[in-house]
């Protein structure tokens, strides 16, 4: 083809282009190599641009399809959340769109409360999509997470066996998502599994565990946590001590009192004091007073906050000396406590302010009074 075209090409044209090329194309080998590289780089750059445009176009089309799907199904979900009956007619749901359906269902569930959520659950089961959620647990990470979120909303203990193995997943996102789903199904049973497992999982960050404990509720947390703390020999269990604050303070109190009585490390004492703060038992007052003398300011602060919770009118004498504490935070907390004492009046506080000799304590109290007056 090319040879035919060249054969038909006028002689003067072929010669002129050949001459132009010979003038442009260098004879130097290095220069030739550099030009080859330049062409390569240019081609690569254009390829990257094409990839940019292609990816952009694919993503734009996917977004449009997704929006259309969501707009099609949004009225159906709205009807499901309002009625006990499944809406009589709905658009066909092809298999390849089942994932989007579950994603949209999960998102709708997040915006609902109470009976509406129950109705949505019934609709999902009526459509047979709960089975699809279970199938997703066998898929890749993203599918697993969509399935787990769906089962969390359903909170059906019948799915326990399917979810429990995922608690051991090496992927911490999957494992923690499975933990959340188990807690939704049966909080006490789940925490009995999760807390011992958490000892060996440093990749489960403490804030995530606190969130799990909050979801499970204090009744479900305390007993398994105390068992783990007392029975395990693993030093890594100490990481879980701060979780006790999320537990039932009545059950955690013996542990807390024991730590305060034995003079445990400061981190333990802080947690113990926070437990006793929640409990607010006046019989612990002597322990709190003793902790006020602790050398660590974090412990003194926790003791002060615990005392503040059960403060009586005459306790201002107790808090006044703390205005001259060496720790800035203790001084501010003492001032806040004094300003918020039961029966405290503005005149009384002003009078108290005049009595304070410590400059920093006076500043702290003046600030606290201004904030109380707001």
């Amino acid at each position: 083809m090319l040879s035919e075209w060249l054969a038909r090409c006028p002689h003067w044209l072929c010669e002129a282009s050949a001459n132009a090329w010979a003038q442009l194309w260098p004879e130097d080998r290095m220069l030739q190599l550099a030009l080859y590289c330049a062409f390569g780089l240019g081609a690569l750059t254009v390829l990257v641009l094409l990839q940019v445009l292609l990816l952009g176009e694919v993503s734009r089309r996917r977004t449009v399809r997704r929006q259309q799907f969501n707009e099609q199904w949004r009225p159906f979900f709205a009807l499901c959340s309002l009625s006990d009956e499944l809406p009589p007619s709905h658009a066909p749901l092809p298999r390849r769109r089942q994932l989007w359906f579950l994603l949209q269902w999960n998102r709708t569930q997040l915006q609902l409360r109470g009976a509406a959520r129950e109705r949505m659950n019934r609709a999902l089961i009526a459509l047979g999509m709960d089975r699809q959620a279970l199938i997703l647990l066998r898929g890749r990470v993203r599918s697993k997470l969509i399935g787990l979120t769906c089962l969390r909303h359903l909170a059906d203990p019948a799915h326990w066996q399917a979810v429990q193995p995922l608690l051991l997943s090496r992927n911490s996102i999957v494992a923690l998502s499975a933990a959340q789903t188990l807690v939704a199904m049966d909080a006490s049973k789940a925490m009995a599994l999760i807390l011992p497992a958490a000892v060996n999982r440093p990749d489960w960050a403490l804030p995530r565990l606190i969130s799990l404990c909050q979801q499970a509720g204090e009744q479900a947390v305390t007993t398994p946590l105390l068992i783990v703390l007392s029975s395990s020999e693993d030093p890594r269990r100490e990481r879980l001590v701060p979780l006790l604050v999320q537990g039932d303070p009545r059950h955690a109190a013996p542990w807390a009192r024991a730590r305060l009585d034995e003079g445990a490390p400061a981190e333990y004492l802080q947690v113990a004091l926070r437990c006793l703060c929640e409990l607010g038992d006046p019989r612990d007052r002597h322990r709190l007073l003793r902790a006020l003398q602790h050398e660590q300011d974090t412990v003194r602060l926790a003791a002060l906050q615990a005392l503040h919770k059960q403060a009586r009118r005459e306790d201002s004498e107790l808090f006044l000396p703390l205005l001259s504490d060496s720790s800035w935070w203790v001084r501010q907390a003492a001032a806040d406590s004094l300003a918020a004492m039961p029966g405290a009046t503005l005149e009384g506080l002003q009078h108290m302010l005049e009595q304070v000799r410590d400059r920093y304590g006076r500043d702290a109290l003046r600030r606290a009074i201004a904030e109380v007056r707001r």
Binding site: L41, L49, R208, A370
Partner: protein, 467 residues
């Protein structure tokens, strides 16, 4: 003899540019892998930033100096951030304009008798105000001392354990705080996290929030969009998995307050206080063997107005270069030290070779090769090879920045915008980058001659103030 020297010089410059762009390509690969992982995780955990109910409270610190045009809108946008518990502390650093008066009027401020903790040093505070309308807004009015000094005052005034430094001329995306706090929830060792800064020129801003991202008409601003994409999406993202991020932009970064206090807060004798603090945090934690993580996240977005005139842009770039030089030279002991880890053995040498003294080598390289060619001392082949590695690979790197953007967040989703950015990615290599090199060399000279530093004056459009 002279010919041999000349030949070796040509080879050295070509090799330097090859190494420079080659290393950036490698960093680009790392970033791509990191970004893919991040996007996958984001898709897995849901595109909306999750509320866990355990997010630690955050103090947002906004140092302000002569910001009367934008401060109203900036503070309003901060007040509407999507986050469970936060306070805003605006630090008026002795502004000469009406910044304080605007704040007092707009937010109904009244004097508040509040003692400041003197954990880090700063210029005297004249007054502290609190808002009668917003319980979580306070303003610290202090004597002028520079941005770092203002931030130190903010650290002392902050009541929460995490603080987020934000420029008063920037606006955050509503969920930025919720996103940037995620590393602190996922890994207890995290002490600092930074987000991406993007250019808002040409975008629609209403009520302190960015409604629609768009391209500015000004070409200088367009060049900077490509430059920011390159700097953030692979300049920083690539270092994050290695725990070797040396820069968290002063415009938007979240820090553990106690750790920052432990290293003495921001240094006031540098113009690059943001970078200097991060390098110091690395050094402190490495020397004391305290486990730590410093993360960069690509999606918590902070929008900022960039300069649209050569004078302001040139001064900004000189200041940045000076800041970088100060930060690296002060912490030279981090480099190749026994406990240096990836920041000391990889990031510091990389930054020193390609970012600190790099502009000087580049400038001399361009000068030598072009002058040499003009006087016949440099061959066609050498010049072609030089331009290929200096400009050809530069274009490829810029275009790769666009690829990362398309693969991830697609802020500029219109095809026309992407084509225009592509054009900018090519054109910036013919003049703009070389001009940048000259400005950066000026910054190096200012560092070397220890010129007195001050707040960077910025000419603003003031469009944001008209909410």
């Amino acid at each position: 003899m002279t010919d041999t020297w000349l030949w070796w010089l040509q080879v050295a410059f070509i090799l330097y540019f090859l190494l420079l762009n080659g290393m950036y390509l490698l960093l680009n690969m790392l970033s791509m892998a990191s970004l893919m992982g991040y996007i996958r995780q984001r898709a897995e955990t849901g595109e909306l930033a999750p509320y866990l109910g355990v997010e630690p409270p955050v103090s947002v610190l906004m140092p302000a100096f002569n910001e009367e045009a934008t401060i109203r809108t900036s503070v309003r946008s901060m007040l509407q951030l999507q986050y469970p518990e936060f306070e805003i502390v605006v630090i008026n650093d002795g502004s000469k304009d009406n910044t304080l008066a605007v704040l007092i009027e707009e937010f109904d401020l009244v004097p508040h008798p509040e003692p400041l903790r003197q954990a880090v040093a700063h210029q005297p505070v004249q007054a502290i105000y609190r808002s009668r309308r917003y319980a979580n807004l306070r303003v610290v009015d202090k004597a002028n001392g520079g941005k770092a000094d203002a931030l130190n005052a903010g650290i002392n005034a902050a009541r929460h354990g995490l603080f987020c430094g934000v420029d008063a001329d920037s606006i955050l995306q509503r969920d930025s705080l919720l996103r940037v706090v995620q590393p602190f929830l996922e890994d207890e060792r995290t002490i600092a996290a930074g987000g991406t800064v993007r250019i808002a020129n040409g975008s629609q801003v209403r009520g302190g929030f960015l409604i629609q991202a768009g391209l500015p008409r000004n070409w200088l601003a367009r060049f900077q969009i490509v430059e920011y994409l390159r700097a953030f999406l692979f300049g920083r993202l690539g270092w994050s998995p290695l725990n070797a991020v040396l820069i968290i932009s002063g415009a938007f970064g979240l820090f553990d307050r106690e750790r920052v206090m432990a290293v003495g807060g921001y240094r006031t004798d540098t113009v690059g206080e943001d970078m200097e603090l991060v390098v110091r945090l690395h050094r402190y934690h490495r020397e004391k063997r305290i486990p730590y993580r410093i993360r960069y996240l690509p999606d918590p977005i902070c929008w900022t107005e960039c300069p649209e005139d050569l004078g302001t842009l040139g001064r900004q770039r000189s200041r940045w270069q000076r800041g970088l030089a100060e930060s690296l030279s002060r912490h030279a002991r981090l480099a190749f030290s026994l406990r240096g880890g990836t920041p000391g053995w990889l990031a510091w040498p990389f930054m020193a070779l390609f970012e600190w003294i790099g502009p000087l080598i580049e400038l001399v390289g361009y000068g030598f090769m072009l002058a040499g060619f003009a006087f016949g001392a440099v061959s066609y082949a050498a010049l072609a090879a030089f331009l290929l590695v200096a400009i050809g690979m530069g274009i490829l790197l810029s275009v790769n920045g666009l690829l990362l953007e398309t693969m991830s967040f697609r802020v500029y989703s219109r095809r026309r915008d992407m084509l225009q950015l592509f054009l900018m990615a090519v054109l910036e290599n013919f003049g703009y980058r070389q001009l940048n090199t000259v400005w950066r060399c000026r910054g190096l000279w200012q560092w070397f001659s220890r010129r007195k530093h001050h707040w960077g004056a910025m000419r603003r459009s003031g469009q944001w103030g008209q909410s």
